[in-house]
Assembly symmetry: C2
Homo-oligomer: 430 residues x 2
């Protein structure tokens, strides 16, 4: 029987929206947003889309009108009553009222601010300017929209069964990964794939497949909407955005050197336990750990997000040992460029030496490599970053010079201030 009501409902959409909810975003964005709302509400920031994969000419692939429709639709969204109830009432990481009433009151009234869109050299220049707690919430939906519009453009001319077989192949591919991973009894893995997902429905399918296939090994998802709808844990802590903006706001070199620790001091006040995760690589992991105050060594763990992951974990283990901490009690979260083989080898290498966890992104929610002509659905490296704060450019160094961003003279200054020497280059695929 034809479900007429659903058809009519679908026809009501002028567009088929990619993002249908303000909480279709990463959990850590909401945590960071609350921290910014409390500590730096009036900072003026600029976020900008950056496509590191220049060969993918997004402005040639994606229609500007469609892109504007999707972005305009996101600007029309506001928090629904059920979403607000979930954020106010749910237990996150075992804690009630993670989000304060003040923050929730503000968030319930929020609409996302204006965007600025231009085409240049086959790419879209998409920027967002305004108050930090508002502008920062554009990052994930902007990425989701561009990723999914690209998928839709590639799929547009495929037949009905060709499409069905494409998804059948994608499902088979993911399930083969699940079958490899479920042999690892002490695995702990979460979905971090919102920003680079093939599509919303596909991410939702992947999360459900992981839930059934991995059981307790699957810790949850970074996507709040999916976590809410599927009754899963929302996963995430904090990101480079905080130290990048704090650093840009620093008045001099000494304040700059201190800024990453200021971020975590603010965080320390607000959170405990599993939310006390150090992200040490924004301006180079080694310098960060060498200069870290002792109270940071008491935190729960470290997230390794650039450079060679095994090296990053060894560095963390050595640092904890040097500070008199027992690494076996500490959590190492790997979240950069993961796929099954790397997950398995890292697990084998570090299980027993520390607590190991994985935040699996692109190759979980967007692995259609080799499945269409010219590999038109191969994942690529799109990011949306804070590029300026109160008129000052931001800088990110990371543990991989291929991921560095910011003006050249500022990069040189940051390298000097944070004592970053030679770094190994690692190819950035996704």
């Amino acid at each position: 029987m034809v479900d007429i009501a659903t058809r009519v409902w679908n026809h009501k959409w002028k567009i088929d929206p990619i993002v249908r909810s303000l909480i279709d975003t990463d959990f850590y964005k909401l945590l960071m947003c609350q921290s910014v709302f409390r500590n730096k509400p009036d900072t003026h920031v600029t976020f900008s889309l950056i496509n590191r994969s220049k060969a993918i000419r997004l402005a040639d692939i994606i229609d500007e009108g469609e892109l504007r429709e999707q972005l305009d639709h996101i600007r029309s969204l506001s928090l629904s009553r059920g979403e607000s109830t979930w954020m106010r009432g749910n237990t996150f990481y075992g804690k009630r009222q993670m989000f304060s009433p003040q923050f929730m009151d503000w968030f319930e009234d929020l609409r996302l601010p204006a965007y600025h869109l231009e085409k240049k050299d086959g790419q879209y220049e998409l920027t967002f300017e305004g108050k930090w707690p508002e502008v920062m919430l554009w990052e994930i939906p902007a990425l989701s929209v561009l990723m999914e519009l690209r998928s839709r453009a590639v799929l547009r001319d495929m037949g009905r069964f060709e499409l069905q077989v494409l998804y059948a192949r994608g499902m088979t591919k993911l399930w083969e990964k699940v079958e490899q991973l479920r042999d690892i009894s002490d695995l702990r893995l979460a979905d971090f794939g919102t920003r680079r997902r093939h599509s919303f429905l596909w991410q939702d399918w992947c999360v459900q497949a992981m839930t059934e296939g991995l059981g307790a090994r699957f810790a949850g998802t970074s996507n709040c909407l999916i976590a809410k709808n599927r009754d899963l844990e929302a996963i995430g802590t904090n990101a480079h955005e905080l130290p990048m903006v704090y650093a840009a706001l620093a008045k001099d070199d000494e304040a700059l050197r201190q800024s990453p620790y200021d971020v975590l001091a603010d965080w320390h006040e607000e959170h405990d336990g599993n939310l006390r995760i150090i992200l040490p690589d924004t301006f180079g992991t080694k310098g960060f750990l060498d200069g870290a105050p002792d109270w940071l060594a008491g935190w729960t763990g470290i997230r390794v997000d650039s450079g060679d992951p095994a090296t990053g974990a060894e560095t963390a283990i050595n640092w904890w040992t040097s500070r008199g901490e027992d690494p076996r009690q500490k959590l190492v979260i790997f979240s950069d460029g993961l796929d099954v083989d790397k997950i398995i080898s890292l697990q084998q290498q570090f299980a027993g030496r520390c607590r190991v966890s994985f935040g699996w992104g692109t190759m979980l929610t967007n692995d259609f490599k080799g499945l269409v002509a010219d590999d038109g659905l191969a994942p690529f490296s799109l990011v949306c970053k804070a590029v300026a704060a109160n008129g000052q450019p931001t800088v990110k160094l990371s543990d991989n010079p291929n991921k560095a961003m910011g003006p050249a003279e500022e990069i040189t200054r940051y390298k000097r201030v944070f004592g970053v020497g030679e770094q190994d280059r690692v190819e950035v695929v996704v």
Copy 2:
């Protein structure tokens, strides 16, 4: 949105029926039924289920109560108005009114006769006795029911995503076959897979995938219900059943020798063109062709259904040549144990030397080999055959002694009468 009406509708089914229509059967059964209705309406026959794959203990796998429910449901079916309209009004093989008003009047009133079911040695003994035109229509639904109940039994304990991935893998497997086949520009291939299908919905999917993937290379389906619903050609001509029963009715050896030609004489009167297809292997192809009257050489083609297919085609080509016919104008239909590699090699071997066509069965509609534990969905060889007519046992020799059936002494007699010498054994998989 939940489609409440569909849910309620589904709840109304005491069982989830496998066969929901009397025309969910092979087209040639209806053609033969009409021929039998005209020429031998009062013949009393027995059809019996035979599982050639003894290792598959169907009575251990399939619940008897469920089997009876499915068979009882089939007995409750009658031709719907739309089905009758399709049979009366549609053009089959370019001809209108393929089914006579007399036959249609009878068919509209038909309900399938009683069945007899017993368990023995881990197998079901399922027999149907009565008037030939009624009993013969049990063959395909009985096979479909047993095949699908076996699939359902194997799938019963699988999880929701495990199931989805199973079907994703099945789809991928079939689509890879489609991709191989669509490189052959002059391919002509039809679905003959109703009797051994994994399930009705799966056959329907396979047919749709072939339609999209192969375009004009896909000639149609033997399944009347799917042909009607999907607006495809219904494909088929005649089967071993006719010569087997005619032979059993023969009064002496001379009448026995003549009986396969009597079948085709009756058929000749009723049909022309694409429906004049010789099925020569019932009692050995060579003897049949050597003794065939000249008018048979004028028929459109031959179906090769046992023995080595290339040998069968060569035999046919030589026979046409010896009778002064041009084999390049003749159609050879391969329909035994086909899969992609064999289709491709036969096409390469015979394209240009005769017109080539394929009736692809089990490995089209039931290839789940290797996809579940213990290969529990691997196809197996189940048939439902006329075993007696007016009290006399039937015999089938075919061009493969592993496919022979009937009492030993009768097989010996038939071999003598039809001059069948040594035959090569070919393993029967499906």
